[in-house]
Amino acid sequence: MLDRIAKAQQQIDHACRTLGRPITVMEVCGTHTVAIFRSGIRSTLPEGLKLLSGPGCPVCVTDQGYIDAVLELAQRDDCIIATYGDMIRVPGKDGSLETCAAKADVRVVLSSEDALQLARDNADKTVVFIAVGFETTAPASAVVVKEAAREGIKNFCILSGHKLILPAMRALLGGMNDRVDAFLCPGHVSVIIGASAFAEIVSDFGRPCVVAGFEPLQIIEALAEICRQLSNEKAELKSIYNAVVTEQGNVAAQRIIAECFEAADGYWRGLGKIEKSTLVLKEQYRRFDAFARFGLSDEPGEDLSGCRCGEVLCGLIEPPQCALFATRCTPAKPIGPCMVSSEGTCAAWYKYGRRS
């Protein structure tokens, strides 16, 4: 392994020297962000190659309005909130699910199935599943909605905050941040949507896109491939995660997403409103939509004062450039979601990179 790493590093060094300008690569997957920090990859890269974390952490990109809707639900005594662990500490205007949990009934689940089971086991309460995530978690939400419909379970609904990654990448290149030279494409999302989905980024924007897994070797080799393409001035789509990712992706998963959800305009933290970027339940499943059932607002919320997570998510600043970073905003007392989520850029900087 070390031979291949050394070879890839040589290619990167060579490209950075010969290109004569800095290279900026963005990863748009929280698992990549963590893997890069955890393996210390940044410390092995030449100065000319800059890695930026984009809108890849599902909790982080969730708009403040959605967080406020979740916390509004947590004030109800007729609901059980079922959520993935990462959402539990995201602060809203009035605390987080963690601080509300000392009063409200908030349960951390590892799967959407666990949430549905809670509904079966608690007939006197409505279980609301906090359904966030990209194309990776959307199929699991769709499955339980279909199951609930089939079984006639009425005390279950989902608050869909599911997002699609491609519209966000297009929004970035379409004006939010055009400094990005290339994308390290997400491994997990690509399993679902297929590597070929990123072809439009290459053809429409001329940016290299390389799909990689999460082993340090894969990431470094993907960076070497990106450097090679930039040196040759030819953007291509390439997947080096062929053990897991296919061209077309998981067609069954795509089908079940399409059966239950449709793409709608949605709000993202930092990126604002993006056309057809969020998944809402289709008409025939609308009765499982928690926004509709509880009359919750899906309008954008106001970011907490001073928090620059939005700019971090767009790769416009790095976490230490935010005045709150590691001062008022820490993992123990987070202000922005990028400090809360274990996949958040600020949390990764704080956890693996902070020296004071």
Binding site: G40, T44, I88, G95, P331, Y352
Partner: protein, 339 residues
């Protein structure tokens, strides 16, 4: 929420990370401060006439009560023995308090008591006094256990953070993450190809041998918060830095796979049969050899060394690909009710 809402205790306050330490420093210590308590060691050291003892207490709320490799009873004996052992004492006696929920099945309680008896006998400690309380259904999750323990300090053995110096080596007695990943996978009903087994074990036999025969300067068991928490406590207490090598840290592949799948950093995961020892460079190899000669230290490794601190005391990890990163004190939320 109104502004006058009182702050509440969070599950994370019991996680053994930053929040636990904050709770103890801000809420507990101001009311109870004294010479024996203030160092906040694994055990308090007390002089009773001419005898020097260690005293400790610990409560056990693990869920599930039975797990691969142990149960709450075995854990309650081993955990308290280990707190005495790493402080440089030989454990002699335990107390046992049972808080039992109404409706708890007697055969289960008997199995747990059998396990307590067996573990105590195997480790030459006696349960010498105890208490039983019952609470209404819903007031406790089956069974909670508290044990306190007394150990006699080993003569001439005086471990302390103040003895740690630049150049000292860091010794770990085996694989990390086994207990925490076993509990979380069993709790969530996730089965992996090879079954995970807790490392729950009493370490006194091994630690006494190490203390008596080698120059161990400091030792702490790596429970809640895992290896990351212990190393951070050491650098903070000693005002020095530690550099560890990822390649030297023993982790079972099945544990690593489970941690990766669930998104945990194995350095933060709880252990129940592991300690970190800081030893002088001259004695490091002898310590390692001695450790490996014991069944509970077979996979022992020297994982890093103490280095000078560049301003702030930090734990730094050299990764397998030659990169560097910081190892922070865990926050505390990752795994509640792990022990």
């Amino acid at each position: 929420m109104a502004q006058h809402e009182p702050e509440r205790i969070l599950l994370a306050h019991g996680g053994g990370g930053q929040l636990t330490s904050q709770l103890i420093r801000e809420l507990v210590l101001p009311h109870l401060r004294n010479e024996a308590l203030s160092p906040l060691g694994d055990s308090a050291r007390l002089e009773l006439g001419s005898t020097s003892i260690c005293l400790t207490t610990d409560s056990y709320v693990v869920k599930p009560l039975f797990f691969h490799g142990g149960d709450i009873g075995k854990l309650a004996v081993c955990g308290t023995i280990n707190d005495l052992a790493v402080a440089g004492s030989r454990p002699v006696a335990l107390t046992l308090s049972l808080i039992i929920e109404e409706g708890f099945e007697k055969p289960l309680l008997e199995r747990i008591l059998q396990s307590i008896g067996r573990t105590a006998r195997e480790n030459n400690v006696s349960v010498v006094t105890g208490d039983t309380k019952t609470v209404e259904r819903g007031s406790a999750d089956g069974l909670f256990i508290n044990t306190a323990g007394v150990g006699v300090r080993l003569p001439g053995v005086n471990p302390g953070l103040d003895r740690i110096k630049v150049g000292d080596k860091v010794l770990l007695n085996g694989t990390i993450g086994d207990h925490g990943m076993t509990i979380i996978s069993q709790r969530e009903g996730i089965e992996f190809e090879s079954r995970l087994v807790s490392d729950c074990a009493a370490l006194a036999d091994l630690t006494c041998m190490l203390f008596e025969r080698t120059g161990v300067k400091f030792m702490r068991d790596a429970t809640r918060g895992g290896l990351a928490a212990v190393l951070n406590e050491i650098v903070e207490g000693a005002g020095l830095a530690i550099e560890i090598r990822d390649a030297n840290i023993p982790v079972r592949p099945s544990v690593q796979a489970a941690a990766d799948m669930l998104g945990f950093d194995v350095l933060n995961i709880a252990n129940e049969g592991k300690f970190v020892a800081v030893v002088s460079p001259e004695t490091a190899d002898a310590c390692l050899e001695l450790c490996r000669s014991h069944p509970l230290g077979r996979d022992a490794a020297l994982i890093g060394e103490v280095v000078a601190s560049q301003g702030v005391p930090l734990v730094e990890l050299r990764t397998k690909i030659g990169g560097r990163r910081i190892v922070q004190m865990p926050y505390g939320r990752e795994l509640p009710r792990i022990c």
